[in-house]
């Protein structure tokens, strides 16, 4: 690069001009500094999709928190047991007693929807948080120290990636005994590789940055460097991934429940509720869509929940993704 030999126009001007003609790269090809957080949050909230996503999620939070008030459990010790008025097998359409109708054997759908929100949140948030922690620890170790540790961790990640999620998940849940707890455990065990890879690639980039070298040169211990420098800069990518994964996690959990591996019949578990409708897809000849509420409503609730998280996750990614920040 010719710098000193030829006379060039470099007066003492400070900032780069804001005209997009010159692509001024930020010094780190990474994520916004924490002080940009305010700007990013404002942009986040301006996006209409974020608002919709947040509204949906808050709606479900409301349902989950106020479940005991909105839908008082018939048996306080076992609130997830859905109430049922009578034992008639065929589902009943929406009425005053059951505003959203009932499932086969008269379980109240509305009740199931409200209390199911609790399970959904529990599973989704728990699994994702646990996976984030696992991912951060393993990913940082692999990325920062490299060498044998990296190899081992990455091979294990590859092995987990190769395993078919649903099939293995099913087998594991059955082996551990059915139920939502087993599902949670199984999803935690099977879900960590994605986060590990993400963190690892972030750490790899940061590890070679000048200020890390400077910290090492001034005698900081590895742990200190990890905690103080590496982690805060790689956290953003995990948050992005995590927010986008809550939706998928809940979907898989619901799928497992649907297959009969979650709660037993009669319990407020959205996936399980959907599975009950399988015999009622076709109504009587004169009203073939007669049981639409059983087929439609529980699944719609799942879709809505997941949609809310996906919208939020998408918006977060749009705002925090360094490649898409301009404009």
């Amino acid at each position: 690069m010719s710098s000193d030999s030829k006379p060039t126009l470099q007066p003492a001007s400070g900032d780069e001009d804001r005209v997009p003609e010159s692509t001024a790269e930020k010094p780190q090809a990474g994520h916004p500094r924490w002080k940009d957080l305010g700007f990013s949050l404002k942009r986040l909230l301006k996006n209409p999709l974020t608002i919709i996503g947040l509204t949906i999620i808050l709606f479900f939070v409301f349902l989950a928190i106020f479940a005991p008030i909105l839908a008082p459990p018939p048996r306080p010790t076992d609130p997830f047991l859905m109430p049922h008025k009578g034992w008639k097998i065929a589902p009943s359409p929406p009425s005053k007693d059951a505003p959203l109708g009932t499932l086969p054997s008269q379980y109240d759908i509305l009740y199931g929807v409200i209390w199911g929100a609790r399970s959904a949140f529990k599973i989704g948030v728990l699994v994702v948080m646990a996976n984030m922690v696992m991912g951060i620890i393993l990913g940082s170790l692999a990325g920062y120290f490299g060498g044998l540790i990296d190899e081992i961790i990455m091979r294990i990640t590859d092995i987990f990636y190769a395993i078919p999620l649903l099939v293995m998940g099913m087998a594991m849940v059955v082996a551990l005994g059915r139920g939502l707890t087993s599902i949670t455990i199984v999803l935690i065990i099977l879900g960590w590789p994605t986060y590990t890879r993400v963190i690892r690639s972030e750490v790899l980039v940061i590890r070679d940055m000048d200020y890390i070298q400077a910290a090492r040169a001034s005698g900081s211990s590895h742990l200190r460097i990890l905690l103080k420098h590496v982690l805060p800069n790689s956290i953003f990518s995990v948050i992005i991934v995590g927010s986008m994964r809550i939706g998928i996690t809940v979907l898989i959990a619901a799928a497992l429940s649907f297959l009969g591996l979650g709660s037993d019949a009669g319990y407020a578990d959205w996936g399980q509720m959907v599975s009950t409708c399988r015999n009622w897809i076709v109504g009587p000849a004169d009203n073939r869509l007669g049981y639409w509420y059983v087929v439609f409503i529980p699944g719609f609730v799942i879709a809505l929940f997941v949609l809310g998280w996906n919208l939020l996750g998408d918006a977060i990614r749009d705002v925090f993704d360094p490649k898409m920040r301009r404009r």
Binding site: K6, T8, E16, D17, R18
Partner: protein, 432 residues
């Protein structure tokens, strides 16, 4: 000196998230035939935006909001020029790469990594010289057909020749028609009465619709096996490309033509970019800081190349740079730009020996000289944000001679001496 291209009071804005960036604030530039014109200024002063506006390839969210861009390319346009801001995009597409070409700063990213060099250079031929290419191919086939022994081969070549001839015929007929339409449009150029305006719109629309291809040719192009016939044309184009590369001093052009950009060195890549630009012998070449990222030695080579080409193939060059030394070396005339304004325009000698505008003076003084012993002189202040630029003359916050009027309105450009223009209130009284 005959005018070649002129912009008059060009205003270009960028509508970004942070606000409206008023990038060009009434830029007027005149490039004459046969000269090398320099556009000088710091990063972000609007040089690139100006030339991109000239070619109407301003990247979104930018828009040209006011002004005129006049071309005087053809003999017939001598008197008043064509305002290309009023022409259709189709017109511009046919002009880019053919009449005006542009080369850019970073050669390595300017080339498409997944396409072969030959294809990328040859694309120019496909866009603008299709008729010639078809003619050449037909001619070659004419010679080959009598010599072909095997009857299947002979038949295949006959089919190729026939299809190419069809395409050629249609092209020739339509280009004649397009020329006629262009002539009519030129006649109606200045007339703004509603009838003329409507006629112009209809003519433009008709012109756009003429680009369709021959039906049979299109059909064959889709048939999986038959469409290989087009490869014959590809071969002709490739040969042309090889010749072109050789003439530009690229060694082993026949091997390079099949290779990919990442296999070449920086200097070689820049030559390819130049090859793409010159393939169709443009009337004017715009070079947007083509050497800023290269080694000094490579830089010298490329500059020499451009100088040679200026004498042989290209008539005029518009050269953008922030390097005053380069301006002194190759430009005949130059404009100095600051924040979307043209401060001063003159021939190069005058700019260096008799600068008028305070900014020009400041720039020249800030260049360190060999015998300098004191601290380097600088222009105080910072380049302003163009979302909210300074009022009046955009340089006024940093100018040592600011007067009250400088804050009120933008100084008009006056001709201080023949061919020497400056936009500064300091020289208002000396106007001729």
């Amino acid at each position: 000196m005959e005018k070649l291209i002129e912009t008059r009071e060009l205003y270009t804005d960028f509508y970004t998230f942070e606000g409206v960036v008023k990038a060009l604030n009434g830029v007027s530039v005149v490039v004459n035939q046969g000269e090398t014109y320099g556009l000088v200024g710091e990063s972000g002063c609007g040089k690139s935006v100006t030339v991109r506006s000239m070619m109407r390839i301003v990247q979104s969210p930018g828009k040209i909001v006011d002004g005129k861009i006049l071309l005087f390319f053809r003999e017939a346009d001598r008197s008043k020029g064509i305002d290309i801001l009023k022409r259709s995009e189709t017109y511009m597409i046919s002009m880019r790469g053919d009449d005006i070409s542009m080369i850019f700063q970073e050669a390595s990213t300017s080339l498409n990594p997944v396409m072969s060099i030959g294809y990328q250079v040859g694309e120019s031929f496909y866009f603008h010289r299709l008729a010639q290419m078809l003619e050449l191919t037909v001619k070659e086939l004419e010679e080959e057909i009598p010599r072909a022994k095997f009857f299947l081969v002979k038949g295949w070549k006959r089919i190729q020749r026939g299809l190419f001839r069809r395409e050629l015929g249609r092209l020739t007929r339509y280009s004649a028609e397009i020329d006629r339409i262009d002539e009519q449009l030129y006649q109606l150029e200045d007339q703004e009465d509603p009838q003329s305006v409507r006629k112009k719109v209809l003519l433009n629309r008709h012109r756009d619709r003429l680009r369709e291809k021959d039906g049979l040719v299109q059909f064959v192009r889709r048939v999986p096996f038959l469409r290989r016939y087009y490869r014959r044309l590809d071969r002709t184009v490739k040969n042309q490309v090889v010749d072109l590369l050789r003439s530009l001093g690229v060694s082993n052009p026949d091997r390079i033509v099949d290779g990919h950009p990442h296999e070449l060195s920086g200097g070689m890549q820049q030559r390819i970019v130049i090859a793409i630009a010159l393939a169709c012998h443009p009337i004017m070449l715009i070079a947007d800081e083509p050497t800023s990222n290269l080694d000094v030695t490579i830089q010298a080579q490329i500059i020499d190349l451009i100088k040679t080409l200026k004498e042989t193939t290209i008539a005029s060059v518009l050269f953008i740079t922030h390097d005053l030394g380069l301006v002194a070396e190759i430009c005949d005339r130059a404009s100095v730009m600051y924040c979307g304004d043209v401060c001063e325009t003159a021939d190069v000698k005058t700019i260096f020996h008799d600068p008028l505008h305070p900014y020009t003076k400041g720039l020249l003084e800030s260049v360190p000289k060999a015998e300098q012993v004191e601290t380097l002189s600088t222009i105080p202040g910072v380049v302003p944000n163009l979302v909210d630029p300074p009022s009046g003359c955009r340089f006024h916050p940093r100018c040592p001679h600011t007067m009250d009027i400088c804050l009120e309105t933008k100084p008009p450009t006056i001709e201080y001496a023949p061919g020497h223009y400056v936009a500064c209130y300091l020289y208002m009284d000396n106007e001729r």
